[in-house]
């Protein structure tokens, strides 16, 4: 693979459908060769953004530059076929009347490669994605996973500098998702191309991304590495969408250098020190708790908030628990190697590195 990665610059991009605004003044800068994941719920505008990059949608205003080429601007709009990119569609979009080999070879037709070279390249690609035996089949004769591999091979065929993925794993079962996710990551990175990948699954996003962009209502709420998004979410929405055990109301007792000492506003007074924060001392705020930040202890443990185990579920390497504090505050997905029975009393403690204090919206 010899793709020359291109940088992607998006400036003040807005896209409206009638009076509905799908993207609102979005600006992003993606370095060549990065694997960017756009994360957001349905209707957040991530698909629209991807389709604007592909040239399938024409933005209402703003600019997009791919490498040195301005593809969208006040006086410019480059059609999809002139953008030198490839895309894996959510529904695969394989042409049903073409064989697997012809679907994969589609981007190569009309290039300077001769037929023998094209055939060799298609065979090589099919081998790489593990479906060389299916070359003469038609899409309707393939499973969902096989169809997705064909779509992946087609996207890799043209050696483009920008690869777009539109929720490629959303139609697959869990086993296949995991396997194919690794393959996509490996193959896409091997090409050296810049990758823009959209998903609504935060685990998938964190596993794949060099940079994550979290979208909400057409606005990019955070643009950072997965680690930063996880440890310092830019907004309550980002915190919630990227996985929380729960939320606890707190008062900020003191704050210094972005670290705070907070008191939980629950029946049992409890203080947590050294929490990362954007709230000011004396204010009321919310403690956003990641599942990994909570530890379950025996009821006899000297420290921690008293809680009741509401549910426990075996997940192979241990148990996931749901607990309630004061019958009003619930924390979920709390892992422990040992099982705490339903209804039992426990004490919970918090690791400050897995919590974040900020004002709720």
């Amino acid at each position: 693979m010899s793709a020359r990665a291109v940088g992607v610059r998006i400036e003040n991009l807005t896209k409206s459908f009638g009076d509905k605004v799908a993207l609102r003044d979005v600006s992003l800068d993606m370095a060549p060769g990065t694997f960017t994941v756009l994360l957001g719920p349905s209707g957040s505008g991530k698909t629209t953004l991807l389709r604007c990059l592909a040239g399938i949608e024409r933005p209402t205003s703003g600019a997009i530059t791919l490498g040195e080429q301005l593809v969208v601007g006040p006086r410019a709009f480059v059609t999809p076929d002139k953008r030198h990119l490839a895309m894996v569609f959510q529904d695969y979009a394989l042409w049903p009347h073409l064989t697997v080999a012809r679907n994969v070879g589609f981007p190569l037709e009309g290039t300077e490669l001769n037929k023998a070279d094209r055939v060799a390249k298609v065979t090589n690609l099919l081998t790489r994605v593990g479906i060389e035996r299916l070359a003469d089949r038609y899409p309707n004769e393939l499973s969902g996973g096989e169809q997705q591999r064909v779509a992946l091979a087609r996207a890799l065929a043209a050696d483009v500098g920008l690869l777009l993925f539109d929720e490629p794993l959303s139609n697959l079962d869990a086993d296949r998702r995991e396997g194919l996710r690794i393959e996509i990551a490996t193959l896409a990175r091997e090409t050296g191309a810049t990758v823009v990948y959209i998903t609504h699954d935060q685990a998938e996003a964190f596993a794949l991304a060099d940079v994550v962009g979290v979208l909400n209502h057409g606005v990019v709420e955070q643009w950072a590495t997965p680690e930063v998004v996880y440890q310092a979410p830019a907004s309550p929405f980002v915190a919630r969408f990227t996985g929380l055990a729960g939320e606890v109301p707190v008062r900020v007792l003191s704050e210094s250098g972005g670290r705070a000492r907070v008191q939980c506003l629950l029946a049992t007074p409890y203080e947590i020190d050294d929490c990362p924060t954007r709230a000011v001392a004396g204010s009321e705020a919310t403690l956003f708790v990641r599942p990994s930040a909570v530890t379950l202890n025996e009821a006899s443990f000297s420290d921690g908030l008293p809680a009741i185990v509401e549910d426990s579920a075996f997940i192979g390497r241990g148990y996931e628990h749901v607990v309630t504090i004061d019958a009003t505050c619930r924390l979920t997905k709390i892992f422990s190697r040992r099982r705490f029975p339903r209804g039992s009393e426990v004490r919970i403690t918090f690791d400050p590195s897995g919590v974040y204090v900020m004002k709720d919206e």
């Binding site: 490839a86 569609f89 979009a93 009347h97 777009l164």
Partner: protein, 584 residues
């Protein structure tokens, strides 16, 4: 319990539904037509000639005038098939995939076009461009155009215009179910507009081939143009030479039967082609996950140019001949413009309901035709749907292929052949005296009209039916729905619009149908088409025009009522399938 024991295979069941279907088809089409075709080699069997066995008629049919008629028909039908399919594809794409101005009106114009029978369209064009008629009144010299019209060009023009709406509706149904992701995928992977079209259009190959097959079969079996234009231009068409053979004195049923057989056989290659392209592959693209399509945006200037050009062509094809007919119906002179000017009058409209005593009034015929329309349209839609499902099934074997070949062949059975077949079969003494006496009864006329309409309608329906993903019905079944509820909740909503259009189409075609109606009519209960052609139309040209205009208006009224009722009684979701515009 011995779990090693093999689960026994499903008990073999006799497929009664299939048997009943073939029995119906047998009495509707297969037996009467086969009996007629048998006359080609054994005229004595049907008492229409002296020989028990002869091949002489075959040689005779392929020589001279009749031979030329067969070649002319093949040439014209192939040309019409290609032209109509290409034009309909372009039009459907403009309407469903671009921001063309007035796109919604085009569907209505197609219906107007569909309403006009070919014989009426020929009269309309004649009223328009014949020297002394409407064009002359506008100062246009149309002598050359008129001479060109009376030749192959005119025949191809009329038949292409007549086939255009059939093709348009079939291809539109295909395009509606086709999400834009296939186009997007092609564009993103480097295809320009032309390559995108050549990549995506084959996905609706079933619809395209259906359109070609219908246009070809409709043209090769058309009698109206062959009779009006072909006969006057020394460009004989097979249906006209067939008619000549039957009406000659003495009648030559054997040669007519050979021509009929050739017409039917000519339709086999298109169906074979369709079968070859579609077999073993799934073109099912209409399902729950199908996304709304995105329209191609023209630049403002191009949008205006394309819209104006499209409507100009459609107005010339649809409105002008219609206007010419309407204008003629409001005159009281032989030609539109006379030396003393144009003489407007509504007298013709009065005369069609109060004609001279020896002439039949339009009123009773109109009532009879509407009754026939309801019976025939209802029966045809049910039969055509069952056939379309059978043809669309991927599990079908030899039975499906036979049905497929049979159906397309049936489309090509000219009405006049069906009529002769019915008379020869149902009027045989052994049938009439010992089985059932149907000759010159309303049920036989209804049967003949259903037989004439069902094959074409089933081919129209096969496109939409084959695009419904099997998962739609499967999901209903696994969620506890029986066969009927599955059909009602999973298939009917997706097909309701198509079935409604099929009903309306059959209704209107039944009212304007002439060949079968004329041969199988019940004396004293003549349908409107027969009254216009054989009595009212022969009195005075403006009276005939007034009668046809009145019938057209009535048919239009019925369409508006039926579609209005459809809109009121169907849930909103049924009508949103394939609609455009969604926020992703």
């Amino acid at each position: 319990m011995n779990l090693q024991k093999k689960i026994p295979p499903r008990a073999h069941r006799i497929k009664w539904s299939g048997m009943v279907l073939w029995l119906i088809l047998g009495f509707l089409v297969i037996i009467p037509v086969t009996v007629f075709l048998f006359a080609a080699v054994s005229p004595r069997f049907l008492r229409v000639g002296p020989q028990w066995f002869t091949l002489h008629s075959i040689g005779e049919a392929f020589t001279g005038y009749t031979g030329r008629g067969i070649m002319d028909s093949l040439l014209v039908s192939t040309t019409v098939g290609i032209l109509a399919t290409s034009a309909a594809t372009t039009l459907a794409w403009l309407v469903h995939r671009t921001t063309l101005y007035g796109a919604r009106i085009i569907g209505g114009m197609m219906w107007v076009l569909l309403l006009i029978p070919t014989w009426m369209m020929t009269i309309g064009w004649t009223n328009l461009i014949m020297p002394g008629e409407l064009a002359t009144a506008f100062g246009l010299n149309t002598v050359h155009l008129y001479h060109a019209f009376y030749g192959p060009a005119g025949i191809i023009l009329i038949l292409t215009t007549a086939a255009l709406p059939f093709c348009y509706f079939v291809i539109s149904a295909g395009l509606r179910g086709l999400g834009s992701e296939f186009e997007d995928a092609a564009r993103v992977h480097g295809a320009g507009l032309r390559r995108t079209l050549t990549t995506v259009l084959p996905i609706i190959a079933p619809a395209l081939l259906s359109a070609f097959a219908i246009a070809f079969a409709e043209s090769i079996s058309d009698f109206g143009v062959a009779f009006t234009l072909g006969a006057n231009t020394h460009f004989p068409m097979a249906t006209f030479t067939l008619f000549n053979a039957i009406t000659a004195n003495p009648a030559n049923f054997s040669v007519a039967a050979v021509i009929a057989a050739v017409l039917i056989l000519c339709t086999v290659p298109p169906i074979m082609l369709q079968s070859r392209v579609t077999r073993g592959r799934s073109y099912a693209v209409l399902g729950a996950r199908t996304r709304s399509v995105r329209r191609y945006s023209f630049t403002p200037v191009r949008r205006i140019v394309v819209s104006v050009a499209t409507f100009a062509v459609l107005i010339v094809l649809t409105i002008l001949p219609l206007v010419a007919s309407i204008a003629t119906s409001f005159t009281r002179t032989i030609s539109f413009e006379t030396r003393t000017g144009i003489h407007w009058s509504t007298l013709s409209y009065h005369n069609i309901f109060s004609p001279p005593p020896s002439i039949m009034s339009l009123g009773s015929g109109l009532w009879m035709s509407n009754q026939l329309g309801v019976y025939v349209a209802s029966g045809t839609v049910v039969l055509a749907y069952v056939l379309a499902r059978r043809l669309a099934s991927t599990r079908g074997g030899a039975s499906q292929r036979i049905a497929d070949v049979f159906l397309l062949g049936s489309v090509a059975v000219p009405g006049v052949v069906l009529g002769v077949g019915y008379i020869l079969f149902y009027n045989q003494a052994i049938i009439a005296n010992h089985v059932i006496s149907l000759y010159q009864t309303m049920p036989l006329l209804v049967m003949g009209l259903i037989a004439s309409a069902a094959p074409g309608q089933s081919r129209l329906l096969i496109g939409p039916v084959s695009q419904i993903q099997s998962s739609m019905a499967e999901s209903a079944r696994v969620h506890g729905a029986g066969r009927w509820r599955t059909w009602r909740t999973a298939s009917l909503p997706l097909l309701s619009r198509t079935l409604t259009w099929a009903w309306v189409l059959t209704f209107t075609k039944t009212i304007s149908e002439l060949a079968v109606a004329q041969m199988l009519l019940v004396p004293g209960h003549e349908p409107v088409s027969v009254i216009i052609e054989t009595t009212l139309g022969t009195v005075f040209a403006p009276i005939g025009s007034a009668a046809t205009v009145m019938v057209l208006a009535e048919m239009l009224g019925v369409i508006i009522v039926v579609l209005g009722v459809y809109r009121i009684v169907t849930p909103k979701g049924w009508r949103r399938i394939g609609e455009v515009g969604s926020l992703r």
